[in-house]
């Protein structure tokens, strides 16, 4: 909603209030100011009058003008097509510095001296309102020739753009904003009077009849006018350009201006549209169209109330009879209807769905007054109307309730004053109880809280003291907190282990998910209105997002990329679950002195170690993934205890290629399966531990899993743990490999003797030989 200071001033006296103060007040009463623009016409630009105007002898498009600028007359060569003798104009005199930087100097144009420039609106910092120069009239108020233009209220105006909240349809007009300011400043609205002399007017009843088929909760009011010689005043043209709206015809411009000023929805109709052939009586019918929208009908539809006017019913002539309609439709009716069956809408709908001004006479009179005073039109007497029976809502609220919700005691007199200035009637209030009759234009006020909101915003929230809330202490560390804390802990560990946390949209591209064999949402659960093709479904894995991000980083020149994400994914049934994924691509570390500038590439062992640093102890088991991101022979399932919690694999070389990645290893883990309980400490032996290494020769094809199984089964109580430390193959070993395993043995009762150790190790060796045919190297 755009207002200007001079426009507001027509409805409320703003004397003594600076524009800064106005902006501050608008903000503090909940009318958020988005933009303020001070029009500042430069110095030495003055009012003038064209006394004479004749064609330039040597240039078709130029005119030589004698321009009166008060103190003197100047000769100015002007190229505007609309320049003529008798025009009142704006003149930039010698020395004026125009907003675009041009400095006006005496010049010679095709042999003729020119001392100044006659200006268009655009040249002095306004929107252009017509081709050529401005044609001033008395609508800008009094001025003298030669007076600085910047001293004029219309040219020295301030523009304020307000971002209205959806509930404040009543502020979609200059008058509406003025009404809120009236409450904020406790100043009354100006009395605006119209010429409503009904003498010697032909009654509208002679030319128009209105009928309706059923009660549609709509208010309509018609006037008629014989339009002749309508001239739009300069100030209206200027203001319509300031609110960045434009209409094709003068009569439409007047409607728009009157609506923007008063808030009443106004339309001008072609009279003939409603007259049957050879009939001079227009017949308007209010009925419903096939979607249930209220319509103005003749033989054809003329308009859909509150939404759009059909082109055929618009006024295209400048002389002749015009019907002017003011309408009001309750906003909830129209927006409910629109939610059920959407139809194309026009600029009207924005106003009507938020609530237009119901006081139809105000808008109609304002509009006709404008027409009458700016044309030779004859207005028909009286009006034709259709009214519903509406009674104002009554809301009652006690002072105690107001004070409790605000948290401070608000003066009763002040409350009354605020409500009255806002147009509420509080006459029935008694003692500390307010009984408030809510005017129709405040359809957003329904209950006590709405009333309190009005009081809060006009008292000013800044004037309410802050007060801590007193509450009963309670243990708030419950499930969702622990879940959050667990997430935070793992995120911290991942970051400390060198991974960068990334956050991706939970959207993904269905085509990509399908290509790699991931779950996608069942068709009937799919997104209805994705924002772009590449985000057309919900992700079922974090890994595609990480791969894409890795690819971006590699393209940015990173030779080592470590990323992780903890986030939600969705299965085919759209059930949400939480996963954690890590990706490591390229170099193990950055180039540095310690690796002589040639860091090694990431490998399976190193990555596994990194993951263990994050999620703690786990085991890996040979695995085949359902999706096709994985290298078929470097792929594992992650086990914690006996539970499978995720998968860890090297990315398939062809996938690496398609993402333009170096060696990449990644894993994805079911986050809820990660441990987060307190650890239980084991008893620690106080006796010395002993270590033994065994180097065994085993078939290349055999999984270490099997060796491990046999060792575990045959281990003595003293075997604390064991782990592979070296794997070696060469030609002499043929199909076999040598694997060195380190054993740690320790007893709770004594320092182990050589023979104890030997017997433990022998038992293992024998078992390996008997069960797997494996021997020492």
């Amino acid at each position: 909603m755009i207002v200007t200071r001079s426009w507001l001033n027509e409805w409320i006296d703003l004397k003594g209030i600076t524009t800064d103060n106005l902006v501050k007040t608008l903000n503090s009463i909940g009318l958020e100011v988005d933009r303020v623009h001070h029009y500042k016409v430069p110095e030495k630009i003055v009012f003038g009058r064209v006394l004479e105007c004749e064609k330039h002898p040597d240039a078709d498009k130029l005119n030589i003008c004698k321009v009166d600028i008060g103190s003197s007359t100047r000769q100015i060569v002007c190229g505007a097509s609309n320049v003529r003798a008798g025009l009142n104009v704006v003149v930039a005199t010698i020395g004026a510095e125009m907003p675009n930087g041009l400095i006006i100097k005496p010049v010679v144009l095709r042999g003729i001296d020119s001392e100044g420039m006659i200006c268009s609106a655009g040249e002095i910092g306004f929107e252009n309102i017509q081709d050529g120069i401005m044609e001033l009239d008395e609508s800008i108020g009094g001025y003298t020739l030669g007076q600085e233009v910047s001293e004029n209220n219309i040219f020295g105006d301030d523009l304020i753009e307000i971002e209205l909240t959806a509930n404040r349809g009543d502020c979609l007009s200059i008058r509406g904003i003025a009404r809120d300011l009236s409450a904020a400043y406790d100043r009354p609205l100006k009395e605006v009077t119209f010429n409503e002399n009904e003498d010697r007017r032909i009654g509208i009843g002679r030319i128009l009849s209105l009928s309706h088929e059923k009660d549609l909760n709509i208010n309509l009011r018609y006037k008629a006018v014989d339009l002749k010689n309508l001239i739009i005043p300069f100030v209206i043209k200027l203001r319509l350009s300031q609110i960045e709206e434009k209409r094709d015809t003068d009569i439409e411009s007047i409607m728009l201006y009157a609506t923007h000023s008063s808030g009443v929805i106004l339309k001008a109709y072609n009279y003939g549209f409603f007259c049957a052939k050879n009939d001079t009586m227009a017949k308007i019918v209010l009925s419903e169209d096939k979607h249930g929208y209220a319509c103005i009908m003749s033989k054809e539809k003329a308009s859909t109330i509150g939404i759009i006017q059909e082109d055929a019913s618009k006024v295209t002539y400048v002389e002749g009879t015009v019907l002017i309609e003011a309408s009001y439709i309750p906003p909830d009716i129209i927006s409910k209807k629109m939610a059920i069956s959407k139809i194309p809408s026009g600029p009207l709908y924005y106003r009507t769905s938020r609530g237009s001004e119901p006081e139809l006479n105000l808008g109609l009179s304002f509009c006709l007054d404008l027409i009458e005073s700016n044309s030779n039109s004859a207005i028909f007497g009286g009006n034709i109307e259709l009214c519903d029976s509406y009674e104002n809502k009554i809301v009652s609220v006690s002072k105690q309730e107001i004070d409790e919700i605000i948290g401070a005691s608000i003066d009763k007199v002040k409350i009354n004053k605020i409500l009255k200035n806002l147009g509420f009637n509080t006459a029935k209030s008694h003692a500390d109880h307010f009984v408030i009759s809510v005017p129709r234009f405040r359809h957003d006020i329904i209950n006590k809280q709405d009333i309190i909101e009005e009081i809060v915003r006009l008292v000013g929230i800044d004037n309410i003291p802050s007060k801590p809330f007193m509450f009963k202490e309670e243990n708030k560390l419950k499930d969702d907190y622990f879940e959050y804390k667990k997430r935070r802990t793992y995120r911290h560990r991942a970051a400390q282990s060198g991974f960068f946390e990334s956050v991706h949209f939970v959207f993904d591209e269905k085509k990509v998910l399908q290509k790699y064999g991931f779950d996608t949402l069942n068709e009937e659960l799919e997104l209805l209105n994705p924002i772009v093709n590449t985000l057309d479904t919900l992700r079922s894995t974090l890994m595609t997002g990480l791969l894409k991000a890795a690819s971006g980083n590699v393209n940015n020149g990173y030779s080592s990329v470590k990323l992780f994400e903890v986030g939600s994914v969705f299965n085919a049934s759209r059930e949400e679950s939480l996963k954690m994924a890590m990706l490591f691509c390229g170099n193990k570390e950055s180039e540095s002195l310690s690796n002589s500038g040639k860091p090694q590439k990431i490998d399976f062992a190193f990555f596994t170690q990194k993951i263990a640093d994050i999620i703690g102890e786990f085991e890996l088991r040979t695995h085949t993934t359902k999706h096709s991101l994985s290298h078929p022979f470097q792929c594992a399932e992650i086990l914690i205890g006996d539970e499978a919690v995720g998968e860890l694999f090297r990315v398939h070389p062809s996938v690496q290629d398609s993402y333009n990645l170096d060696i990449t290893i990644m894993c994805e883990i079911d986050f809820t399966k990660l441990p987060d309980s307190l650890k239980v400490a084991k008893n620690v032996s106080k006796y010395q531990a002993s270590f033994r290494d065994l180097s065994i020769v085993m078939p290349q094809e055999m999984s270490y899993d099997r060796v491990k199984g046999v060792i575990e089964k045959n281990a003595s109580n003293e075997l604390i743990h064991f782990y592979p430390v070296d794997r070696y193959a060469d030609e002499s070993l043929g199909e076999n490999v040598s694997l060195s395993i380190r054993f740690m043995l320790q007893s709770d009762e004594k320092t182990l003797q050589e023979e104890d150790i030997t017997s433990s190790m022998d038992a293992i060796l024998n078992a390996l030989k008997n069960e797997l045919g494996i021997t020492l190297r």
Binding site: A166, S335, K448, Q449, I461, D462, A494, N556, S590, L593
Partner: protein, 330 residues
Amino acid sequence: MKEWYDAIQNAQSVEKLEEIRVSVFGKKGVLALEFAKMKTATDEEKAQIAKDLNTHKSALTNELMQRKITLQTLELQEAMRASAIDVSLFSSKSQSGALHPVMETMDKIIEYFTAMNFDIKTGPMVENDFYNFEALNLPKYHPARDMQDTFYFKDEMLLRTHTSPVQIRTMMSTKPPIRMIAPGAVFRRDYDITHTPMFHQVEGLLVDEEGIVSFANLKFILENFLKYMFGDVEVRFRPSFFPFTEPSAEVDISCIFCKGCGCRVCSKTGWLEVLGCGIVDPNVFKAVGYKNVSGYAFGLGVERFAMLIHQIGDLRSLFEGDIKLLEQFQ
């Protein structure tokens, strides 16, 4: 004997010193020779010689030891000098990763409210119309629904447009009093320089007996919270409109970049909008079946906080796993 004192003093290495020790104290050393001379001396002379020699013996031992310590120290010094490095070669660049600035900001917000005895509550991202709109006083035809362009699914479910449905779910499953925050991802169908289809919110809700929760309480906690997040800033409340709260307000802080003088970030206004809040609308309580209660609610966008705190210019870069950005938070 004097020459041996000089020799010790002039010895330049521990090895040389050892040679001297052998020459002096060895079986065929100087001292042994001197002591041997006693055999031919008289008894008086013997006593004198023995005394002199013993004095020399202990003095030389002492000299040797002192010199050895000196030489060892010098040698160590030399060895260390030989292993000197140019420390300036070794950069201090961290090899650790980093938390995402948005997630870290969320952690900081959560930390405040947990310390203020708020519960953390979470809920599903896929929601239905009732929890996301209807129960929040946003009936189907309400124009305020325009403010939140929604992602729908074919079965009429939707992606939550705010974390408020978590509050509805909490109220429907718990009795008052309630003191909670709902952090999480939310979704709106918007994608441009200042909007992403997914972003994060933290919303708060406090519900207690009727007549005891006031706007003044809301002002207190939000002023306190914003000072915790942004330091010494001015806080301004502007009345506004949200369907689920009434009275409602938007909360601004004085611009942290220009200290309120007006700059590009605050569009010359001197203020930055950071929060929405209000007293819970009675229709919301009605929808969840609460009676005789009062409460306040507030909500904020985590990305906005993160971008302000860390001076990040491009919202979309936050969702690209871009190490260029992330490594700045190591």
